[in-house]
Symmetry: C2
């Protein structure tokens, strides 16, 4: 059918079965500042009871954004919010009050510390869902976890919502968790304490996805944004474990030109990176790429020419933030790093990673989420992702801590299944997953291999075995494998 | 219901009405090179009769990728392909043969030159759909134009598909048209002639979206990839029009600190940029941002400190490519630049743009697609997008060319509707859209304003008026407004 459109032209409204809409008129697209306050931003985004609000955790224990957002939500009289944060920390203790007041009634995201302790004893109306970094990205992408409003903390933004975590007083490194939220949430609010002239540099999040820019006094406390985990442990036991990790990598033939390794922050992993850097130097080897978290240690290895590329998803210290302000290099958002639904991820090429554990068991299952007393105190982070992505996944732990065996018959909670854990390096020797016959063949005679059952027995002998836990039938949380399936339930412990 | 999952844990499969899938087992994610040849890549991506293949045009008239891909398609015996390129040029003359052979039977994308001439006389089985840059992006995003396979030419890639147009012998600037194809196509093939070690720098397209990397000898001819449009016209008439554009901007009060202007390549627009640069200097003004295409002219204005940011979506000359290799600055992909379905675009803040025309009419409608003889010879490019995004959209043209009036009663085809065109600057004076009373008020007395009807009369007097066209009832193409509605049909001319 021919119709006259708003431009005065006769056009066909159907051609070969395809329907065509006639032009209705054109108008100028104008530009408005998106700056407002948090409360107005929430209202503009149509916040309502039962909504899901997402947050990233890159301000770590220095974050103010979760607390001030939930306070604004409460002040609007909104109830039953589902939090979909990437992680919360002790600074988020006020979340307990928001739960008590009915502002928050569900949480899907990593929980570290105080809030986890509270929920372990006071289950929410739906269990806490714990996912890995990659698993969370995929859940948002597939719609399993749909945020109504994404709250994105940025240390610098322009009035249109182009924003970054690289610049400003509260700089924390490139925003790397929120891209998927920005794409899939119904509405997006950038929360910042530093507005700059258009266009903002770096722009990990762009105006195209942003509804509002909420200006606040401070998004966080800079001295707690930086984790301070760049200090190498001085515990001789931990240092020995770290050295043994590097010996294992070396015995496995991985310390060679072009190697790709994951760098983390904290404890033994960091020490292992230090020793790996030294080993690269000794062997005159140049690694291809360090993925994961950026610390001064890695920057120094890079500056020394011992690794060609740093493909980082988080930045852990001031030194590294200053470094990337000068040379942004190759930041990898979490989707690039670890999205299991993608066609290729940076971690799929990982030669090796060194990971921690609160418990391990004789099937090489790893627990990073609960303590031996059953309390849910930590998130999964990139544990599952890097374990599955690496050729040699090394988990480190002491055989026991105080009166608790760490190597056990069965972990309290499975965070990462033994199928993808290749070795457990302890203070009493290294156990290799018996499924990795190829690895055992390579390293035997070069490092001391101990059967995992022996390590367990050592732990049980020294401690008298694990405390017996009695669970109620209330589920406080669950761990998911990054494909969305349920790995384990976390049950409330009988008090 | 409780079930035992593959990790040996009893988990609940339903909680509060939500179904939960039990863990089925974990395996290592390994990494494989994606490098293959074009034919295998097409087969791996399951190419079949009737598929839609998308391409970008950033190799311009030096592009080999469209032709070699269609040759590979033909050799596989595949028919009835719909091309969804961003543009094709005279180098793509072989497309005519692919049409004749039945390999290609539909085209949705800009067509420049020879192929357009052919199709104007030999309609395809569905009219050619012409969209603006932003309109095409939106069409792919909304599913109106769904590519089965996106073919993405890259001047450098790693074996995983992280790739760029910034590096390599065939460098053409950041890939900026294909992100939406990479996201929404069923399959993605990167075509490159330069494989580098993992990870490739810059990475406008990332491995997460790439199925295959097709290695070819040459993706294009470097001397034709660069458009060479950076030479300023020497035609005194055109230079005068360009000067009048800058006088109009100045009279409108736009040449002030913080101004945002669109820079293009070619003809009068480029000359206008040159004079604008001089005017910035004379008035000691510092512009905020230049958007659009990058040329030496703009880089030099930037280096002279007369514009703070270059927010570029294309790069037109070697000088500019070398410049961004050193300092990538702020590339804006087409979605950021012009996606009308987004929440904010770089062009929404445009103060002014200078655009060309093959014809204009007394309603300020602009034709850039067809010639006065009715042949479809050009694409829309960013014409609509920047017209609607800018406060002052200036269209330039001579009043007549040879025996053809350019200012007409009615343009042959509406590419950009008069609603968003503010001024037409010609060799016989400047017409202001009567709807822009504010603008007329501002500039009157400062520049010579001529009613558009007078310019038309001048053209008709000098040429004897436009040649009368007789159309058949066959539709060879259509122009769409960037919201997906039909602006105009292009009818086959009776020969």
């Amino acid at each position: 059918m021919k119709v006259r459109n708003a431009a005065g032209r006769e056009i066909e409204t159907e051609i070969a079965g395809r329907t065509l809409k006639p032009f209705l008129g054109a108008k100028k697209h104008t530009y408005h500042s998106k700056i407002t306050n948090l409360s107005n931003a929430l209202k503009k985004c149509g916040i309502k009871d039962g909504d899901t609000l997402s947050f990233h955790h890159q301000l770590r224990n220095g974050d103010f954004v979760v607390n001030i957002t939930l306070a604004a939500v409460r002040d609007l009289g909104i109830k039953n919010i589902r939090m979909a944060q990437t992680a919360i920390f002790n600074v988020h203790e006020p979340v307990i009050d928001f739960i008590k007041e009915g502002v928050v009634n569900r949480i899907e995201g990593s929980i570290n510390g105080i809030v986890g302790d509270f929920i372990s004893k006071n289950p929410l109306s739906y269990p806490v869902v714990l996912r890995s970094h990659g698993g969370r990205w995929a859940a948002v992408k597939t719609g399993e976890l749909h945020p109504n409003i994404a709250i994105i903390a940025a240390s610098t933004s322009d009035e249109c919502g182009n924003c970054t975590g690289v610049l400003g007083d509260s700089a924390f490194g490139p925003i790397s968790y929120s891209q998927v939220d920005a794409l899939y949430a119904d509405h997006v609010i950038v929360v910042t304490d530093n507005i700059v002239g258009y266009p903002c540099k770096f722009q990990e999040i762009q105006e195209r996805n942003v509804d509002c820019v909420a200006q606040v006094d401070h998004i966080g406390d800079p001295k707690n944004i930086m984790s301070g985990t760049t200090k190498i442990t001085e515990d001789p036991m931990k240092l020995q474990i770290a050295r043994d990790c590097v010996d294992l990598m070396d015995a496995a033939g991985l310390i060679k030109d072009g190697m790709v390794f994951q760098s983390g922050a904290g404890g033994i992993s960091l020490a292992a990176m230090k020793f790996l850097g030294e080993r690269l130097e000794e062997k005159d080897v140049v690694a291809s790429t360090a993925t994961g978290g950026l610390t001064r240690l890695i920057v120094d290895i890079y500056k020394a020419g011992r690794v060609k590329n740093i493909y980082y998803s988080q930045v852990f210290d001031d030194y590294s933030v200053k470094f990337i302000q000068e040379d942004i290099g190759l930041p990898a958002d979490i989707g690039h790093y670890a999205d299991p639904t993608s066609k290729g991820r940076t971690i799929d090429g990982l030669d090796t990673v060194v990971l921690g554990a609160t418990e391990v068991d004789i099937n090489f299952n790893v627990n990073v989420n609960t303590h031996s007393d059953g309390r849910m105190l930590h998130g999964i982070g990139g544990h599952q992702d890097t374990a599955a992505g690496s050729s040699l996944c090394i988990v480190t732990c002491p055989v026991f801590r105080k009166t608790n065996p760490i190597v056990k018959e069965k972990v309290t909670t499975i965070s990462t299944p033994g199928d993808v854990v290749d070795a457990i390096v302890t203070d009493k020797g290294t156990a290799i997953n018996p499924k990795r016959k190829d690895l055992i063949e390579k390293v035997k005679g070069r490092i001391k291999i101990v059967p995992i059952e022996d390590l367990k027995q050592l732990a049980y002998d020294a401690t008298g075995g694990p405390q017996e836990l009695h669970f109620t039938d209330e589920i406080v949380g669950m761990t998911k494998w990054f494909d969305g399936t349920v790995l384990d339930n976390i049950w409330k412990v009988k008090e």
